[in-house]
Amino acid sequence: MDFIMDVLTLFHDRADFFLNLVFQHLQISLIAILIATILGLLLGIWISEHQKSSNIVIGIVNFIYTIPSISLLGFLIPFSGIGNTTVIIALVVYALLPMVRNTHTGITNINPAIIEAAKGMGSTKMQILWKIKLPLALPTIMSGFRNMVVMTIALTGIASFIGAGGLGVAIYRGITTNNAVMTFAGSLLIALLAFFMDFIFGRLEKALTARRPNAKRKMFVEIASAAVVILLVFAMLFSNIFGKTDKVIHLATKPMTEQMIIGEALKILIEQESDLTVEITEGVGGGTSNIQPAMEKGEFDIYPEYTGTGWNAVLKEKSIYHESMFKELQDKYKEAYDFSWVSGYGFNNTYGIAVAKEIAQAYNIKTYSDLAKYTPQLTFGAEYDFYEREDGYEALQSAYDFNFKETVDLDIGLKYQSIQQGDVDVIVVFTTDGQLNDDRIVVLEDDKNFFPSYMAYNVVRNETLTKYPELKEILDKLENKISDSTMARLNYEVEVNKKEPKQVAKEFLDELGLLKE
């Protein structure tokens, strides 16, 4: 029961997030369903009229179906790139199997006497198809169609693999972060979507095949058809297919709160200051490892990145990054990818050490070195992980000569609670944690630069910067405008106060006087 409550709470808290995913999911799957229906019907009809080809066509459809989705996507990406188009193509080809075979079976199993009668009346092939075969095959076709709808909605989960969004994002995020509630929430919504769509199509089928439809039924057909059409149009409108105007900046963010806030802020700012449109692909699963290749292909133009991550994860350097190496970072990026690091935001998202304010004041502790003197009287808390890392506790201890009275394993969720309750005195944090936005806690200065540096910048394709020279100037408006504590505060607004990232971004820009009415 607790689990169910957690799921409900999650839905409530992240309503917008899920709504957005549901919408993307519907958009992708409906377009795929539409195309697959038309294509599947055509193929199914065609092989019913050309029986000889039926084995070949069904064989090919079978063959395609057996291609693992991961291979199929990999195969398609060079042609159709990352995003909706590829996913839709993949969904369509998988969806053909039930459509084609059921259409074929439905049509070829009609009582031949009825078809003979229609022929005898002088119907053309087309007339027989439309007036006799399709209506009589309808139940079998609908059975394949409805299976196909459920399958496609389920399979649309793969869209998130290649950054096309949909509820797979929630599932995938849940799996990677070991968040069972999130995974379940995503699965549940997919199931509900499938259930709902099947219900709609079931009612539609019933209404369509009803004898002497009464007014109520007729109305239902109309409403339902209208709803489907509206959904489709909606989906189309919002889809990239038509949305690809020339002056669009494609912005990606990683699945982190602060990235989402920054993404929204950039969108507002850029669209306000120029005639560019910003399209955000939010929270790309896998973060850097999936954004970087798409940046290289030009599918994204810009994303917020951290210097240390760029150095180790992208450039695959082994050494520890410090800001003194920024020039080197820039140069290597330019050479390897022709990207620039521009307009640093001014905050550093790395490990930090925080102490309870009382203690900091009592002993006048400001830096790690200050802290070292008092460690024998203090209790230290960090996640299990931190003690295990090579560059974790032990290294820190020897770098600053720490010698704590006691060290405690703390679950990440309980860290802040523990320090507030006085169970521990010192904790390890991430420097932009939303929960640092708390008077009772002070983050100390890493005066020997022990922890590597992860300053946040924008990574931008130089091509984009050249094409839209106005961009750089706009990005500069946020240069050094966000300190660690500001970022923590903004994160706090989203994570604890449950505001929308977009809202927080807006308020922050307003605060800076950057928001025009």
């Binding site: 006497a113 009825i114 009668a117 005898g120 009346m121 002088g122 053309t124």
Partner: protein, 242 residues
Amino acid sequence: MNTIIEFKHARKSYGDHVVIPDLNLKIEKGEFVTLIGSSGSGKTTILKMINGLIPLDAGSVYVEGKDIATEDLISLRRNIGYAIQGSGLFPHMDVEDNIAYVPNLLNKKDKQRTRKAVEKWIQVVGLERDLLDRYPDELSGGQQQRVGIARALAASPEILLMDEPFGAVDDITRHMLQDEIKRIHEQTGVTIVFVTHDIREALKLGTKVIVLEHGEIAQYDTPEAIQQAPANDYVKQLISDK
């Protein structure tokens, strides 16, 4: 009069079973030919040869002088009304749509005219108008058969093929229908090929009667001639039953 339908050495068999060995037959325009013969003798087969539903194994069939093997079957069939044995209604259409099937093939737009025609024909076959929105499986056997006749008539064809059209109706209705069909024949001059197993009906309606025996024509003549000079024992036995 000129020949409208002609069979030349037409032959049809299923496997070893020869249904029509060698049929030669001329039907003049405007005739009302009744076709009688025992069950399984090949009557339905002959009708379906005329509108090309059964392809020949050998020989040819000419309609209005043209070999139907090389003709456009669709426009041919649109000129041939066909009342199928049993009823052959479309199970997914209501009575109105069944009757309007052929008119709708030709001209979809004039719904009003079609509706009127449908109402006319349903009355001709002696059915109430409130059957129009019933489906075939909601009708009695005789009602279904009459809808099938109405469907064939609604095409306003030049040739009318009727396969035991009155087999499932009671005698009173049958007399009414016989009179109707006779009237239509006289008024429009349509050529009718009418299969029946009732010799009285065959003799009453036909301007010519064909007696079929095992796929071969035993006699083809006017009713009077047949009654006066039956060609063989089978024909004799048939008319004795009258």
